[in-house]
Structures are given as C-alpha cells and as structure tokens.
Symmetry: C2
Subunit: 375 residues, 2 copies
C-alpha cells in the first residue's frame, strides 16, 4: 500500500498540534501580527522548491527524526545541503541523520565514506556508515549487481531509521532518475506498474511505519542539484559507474533520452508527468480490486471466492483481485507471474468443476461449484 | 465505449445460428464425423493468423458485409488478399467491399486509385473510391495534414459502410503501427489513454452499430505483410510519404524505434503488449468511474453531484467521473482540458460554497452546499 496523502495530512496536523503544545509548555508564544517579524533567512530557490514539495507530500515539519541517504554524488549532497538549509532557517524543525552505505564496488569507496562523514560533521549532523560487499551478496543471491546494491541499501536505511527512531528516510532520486526508470520499464514491456515509475512517498517496507520519501523526484533535474552544490561551493563525488555504458540505465541516459529529447525538449518532464498520471490510475485500480475481492470473498467461508462476481468484473480488476487473493492465501507473490494469474482466471470461465491449478511453491487452486478455493 | 467482447460473442453466436438456419433451408447438412471430409484448401500462415484473430475479436464469420480499407500499400493489400483467401476457402462467409480514398496529396494518387480498383476487380470484389482534397480540408479546419487525412478517411469509410449495409470496417494497422503510436504518445507526455494505443476493435463512431476492426494490429509485423504479398506474387504500392522524415511518425519509425530495438530486439511486441495491458486497465477504470458517477448523481435532482462521495473516491476515479459528468452536462468535451477538470475538482475541497468555475464554451459549474451543479 502506498503512503496515503490523507494519512499524511492527519499526521502533519498531529505534529503541528504537538509543536503548539511544546510551545505552550516552554512559554514561547507563536508570533502575532503586532509582534516584530522574526528575521527572515533568504532561502535558495532549490531549498524553497524542496520546502514546497515537503508540504505537498504531507511530510512532518517538526519534532521528527529524518534519515538522509547520502552517496556523495551531486543529487544526495544537494538533498542534504537543502535539508540542512531548511533546518538552519527553522523552516523544518527536524533532527537529521546522514546514512552512507559503502558498496565496496570501487577502490575509492572507503575514501568516499570518509568524505561523506566529514561533510556531515561539518554540517553538524550525526552520520552512520556501513560497508558491505555487494559483489558477494549478488553472487550469493542470484541478483545482479544493481539489484543486490539496491536491496542492501534499503535494508541498511531501514536499520538506521529503526535505530535512530526516525519516521522518514529520504533518497535523492531526481526527475531524471524517474524518466530513466520509466523508459527502462517501457523497454522491458512493462504495464502500468512499471510505467508509473518510483513513488515520491511510500512505506519503507510492508507494514512499516517509516516513510520512504523522494522529495526531489517531482521537480529537480540533475543539473539543478549540480548547480545548487556549486552555488554553495560544496564539492560532490563523481561515480564512474554513472558513465559506464555496460549498464543499461547509463545507455538510456546517454543515448536514448537525448534522442527522445530531439523530438520533445521537455521529454523528461513529460515522462515524469506520465508516471504521475499512471500512479494515480494504479492506486484507483488497486483500491477497486480490493473492494471487488472483499465482495467476492464469502463471509464465514474461509477465503473461497464467488465466481459469479469475479466473472462479471472488468478484466483488469478481476486479474488484480485474483493476484491479491493469491497473495493473501500464500503470504507473498514470490514466483507468481502473470501466466499463473491467467491460469487461475481460466478456472472462472471453464464449464467443468474439479479443475486444479498448481501455483509454483504451492498451494493448489481449484474450482468447486460456484467457488474458487485453495486446496 | 469500446466494442465489447461479450457482446461480440453473443453476436457471433447469433450469426452462427442464422447460418445453421440457412443451411437447413437449403437442405445442406453440416458435415458429420462419418461423412467424407470436405476438401481442405491449404491456407497461408498469414491467413491462418488472421482467422485466429478474427475469432478472438468475436467478429462475424458468416452472413455479413465487410468493408476493407485499401490504400494500396503492403499492409492493406495483405489484409485484402488474406480476407479474400478466407472467403474463397469458405472459412468466412462474408461479402467484401474494397474502399479507397484518394487524398490528392501526391500526383500519382489517381493512378493509385485505378490500381486498387483493378486489384479489387481481379479478386471479384466491388470497390468504391472517392477523391478528396486533404490539403484544402486541412487549411479549412485548422487540422494538420495527418489529422485531416484521418478524419476524411474515417468519414468516407462510415459512409461506404452505411451505403453497403456493412457491419464491419477493416483497417490494416499492424503491430508496427501500434508501437509507433505508443511511442508518439509517450513523446507527447500522454497518460494511459494515449499509451494504450489503438483498439483492435471498437465502434466506428459514437452510438454506431458498425464495428471498426484492425485484425492485423495484435500480431502482424510490417515485414509479414510484405512477405505475404510477395508470396502471392501480388505487387503493392509504396508511398514516399512513408519515408519523408518531416513527419514525426516517420522519424519515430526510422530513428527512435531502431535505437530502442538495440536495447530490446522484441521492443515492438513489448510496446504492443504494454498497450494491451493498459487498454484493459483503461476499460476497468472507465467502468468504475461510470459507476461512481451513477452513485454520486442524486436521484431526481437533475444532474447535481454529491460532493462527499466524490471526495472520498481515489483521485483517478474522481477525475474520470468529473470528466464524464462534464461530458453528459454539455454534450461533448470540446476544448475541455485536464486543467478544467482539476478546476472543477478544486470545488470539492474548498470550504466555502458559492465558488464558480466557467468551462470554455460553457456552462458554469458551481458548488452549492453539498453538491456540484451546472449553472
């Protein structure tokens, strides 16, 4: 389930009220019209845009701990610097933690970790680093390097957030990353799920209360992060893997997107917009499918499904509801592909009962009269 | 509304029954197991694939008149030849008509029209041609050439179908055309509507009983149509507009898609699959939005909308329902853009009543207490 704006607003309201309570306790009063205005710190445009997105996403503005994932590249350094700017200017009353995972993929990686630590110290934030051997992890799990690195990173971030009691973890994905993700998924023949790209805010993990937010995703271009770092005279690291064309993502960035730009100079913004539209559609379909599933599950009859309701539903809803039902029935969707959902769907339309579909890793699904059941 | 598979199946069943009735009348019996098998005509693979798709789309197999749009290019000549093959082999018992629109865009266009007429005559099908001045139509309407040509073509096809009492009109769009359409719409920053590409079968026009079908769309590549024509030693015309890179579509075909193929050799199939998945999702969302609209329209209260229900619905459904409501209220969606739907949506969330949104070309929409209304 994705992080829900309504819930976010409720949380924000609660945090504001807590802040007011604290003000009352300390005897500080909120400024009134007649009192002199507090001195305004002039915020950089980049930090202003971040503050606007922060509000739009309904993220907490006070009394919360936030982990910022920093690799040391321009994007994450810009994210850290701008969060730091907002905290310094008292626009956000948050405690920041810097988290850096050393993937051991390059020989400079230890130096990079030291560099990030020094930057955090200079800005006055606690930093936490860890070193993992991504190559070994990849070899052990069968993931490719990018997948293994990603998995290790999010696991590390979740651990840091839990340790530090942070409610939000930030990553510095930009609008360019979003466009690349959409194109990569398109090249793979994805449906709506892939084409809707990354979410600007979601739960960090299933059932987690920690929010993973990407507050640069909706508006910042890669050139913006570089320019912002330069404007503050802060250096950033460059990662040669970002220019290594053996990675598909790098070739999309350096070859395909520039050609798409020759058709539409605003293609990156266009792809980000497409992703946003599809994300809304995706959320609506997912909710409609859940409702269909609720209706189709017979009360008091375990988890068996009414065939008639499912058969009448539009194809896309029916398939989503069946996927959700399978997930509920076996606890996860590991190894479940579209073809398995279609096989289960075919049970709905056969005339005969008694047919059985065996899902990979179990269980079996069978049709008994007017119901689908797990065996 | 899109042509519905369930309705198609019902229609097909009905036509089959009619066919059986006719057989009874003429005293011909359907072949039985014990009777000698009728001599089989060996169908080309291309025609077999067409027959399979014809069944999948639920198109009528007998006792119907079908208009085939033929420009004279490889795609439409292959479509005509393969339909002809299926009719000759008695796989489809249909009467075919060939329709050709001369766009007057090239100086050879009169010769092309004669060529198509001769081909139709050679195959034994009636042909109907018309000549329009697309440049003048474009200048008069503000459409670009491609839009004006398209509009003139579908108008002509609808006219021919009506005159000849045809129930189906066929165009020869291939899977390559579908992939190009998806990419073109992606370059424009489309949402789900554009990315779902062309439909393999839909109503020819709003409320029309004529089906527009594209039976090559789901499987045939452009090379397949050319090879099929060659295998029958039938020539086809080439249109130099198909290689003129001043058209965006041609540049997508000749520059962008080949580069995408370097990432995924099956990109055309992948894009067609993406379009199909999104089409299913689109249909489901559209139906769910209609249902939301039904619930939100107060019975006996004209067309005013209950704000509470809409405000609770997922964003994508709410916006779709509002769009449908606007369309019902003013008869069409001319000049209504996303920004207008968002403006109407903003009325739902404001605290104050009495706000008014003026739609381009009218009417006004206003919030009165718990309802949205047209002024």
């Amino acid at each position: 389930m994705s992080w829900n704006l309504a819930a976010a607003k409720a949380l924000m309201l609660e945090l504001r009220q807590t802040a007011m309570t604290n003000e009352r306790k300390t005897g500080k009063k909120p400024p009134t019209r007649s009192s002199p205005r507090p001195q305004r710190v002039r915020l950089a445009g980049f930090a202003q845009s971040l503050a606007k997105e922060w509000r739009r996403l309904g993220l907490p503005a006070a009394n919360a701990r936030v982990v910022v994932a920093v690799s040391g590249g321009a994007d994450s350094v810009a994210l850290l610097l701008s969060m730091n700017e907002l905290v310094d200017a008292n626009k956000l009353r948050l405690k920041l933690f810097v988290a850096h995972l050393d993937h051991s993929l390059r020989k400079d990686s230890r130096a990079d970790a030291r560099w990030v630590k020094a930057l955090a110290r200079r800005l006055g934030h606690e930093s936490l680093a860890r070193r993992v051997n991504v190559k070994a992890l990849a070899a052990g799990s069968g993931d490719n390097l990018e997948q293994a690195a990603r998995r290790a990173r999010y696991k590390f971030l979740a651990k840091v957030a839990k340790e530090k009691q942070a409610v939000v973890v930030l990553t510095a994905h930009t609008m360019d990353d979003q466009a690349e993700t959409v194109v990569l998924n398109l090249l793979r023949g994805s449906g709506m799920d892939g084409l809707s790209g990354m979410e600007p805010a979601r739960q960090l993990g299933e059932g987690s209360e920690i929010i993973l937010a990407r507050p640069l995703l909706g508006w910042a271009r890669r050139t913006d992060t570089e320019n912002y770092c330069r404007s503050l005279a802060v250096e950033f690291l460059t990662d040669e893997m970002n220019t290594d064309e053996k990675f598909t993502r790098v070739r999309v960035r350096r070859q395909l997107l520039p050609q798409m730009e020759s058709f539409n100079p605003k293609i990156v913004e266009g792809l980000a917009r497409t992703a946003e539209l599809l994300r809304e559609d995706f959320a609506a379909l997912d909710r409609a499918a859940s409702r269909l599933l609720e209706l189709a599950i017979e009360d008091g009859a375990g988890s068996r499904l009414r065939i008639d309701l499912l058969a009448l539903a539009p194809t896309a809803l029916r398939r989503r509801a069946l996927r959700q039902w399978i997930e509920q029935g076996r606890g996860d969707l590991k190894r479940i592909e579209r073809v398995h959902v279609l096989a289960v769907e075919s049970l709905l339309f056969g005339d005969r009962g008694g047919r059985v579909i065996e899902l990979p890793g179990g269980p079996k699904v069978l049709r008994r009269q007017k119901w689908l059941e797990f065996a």
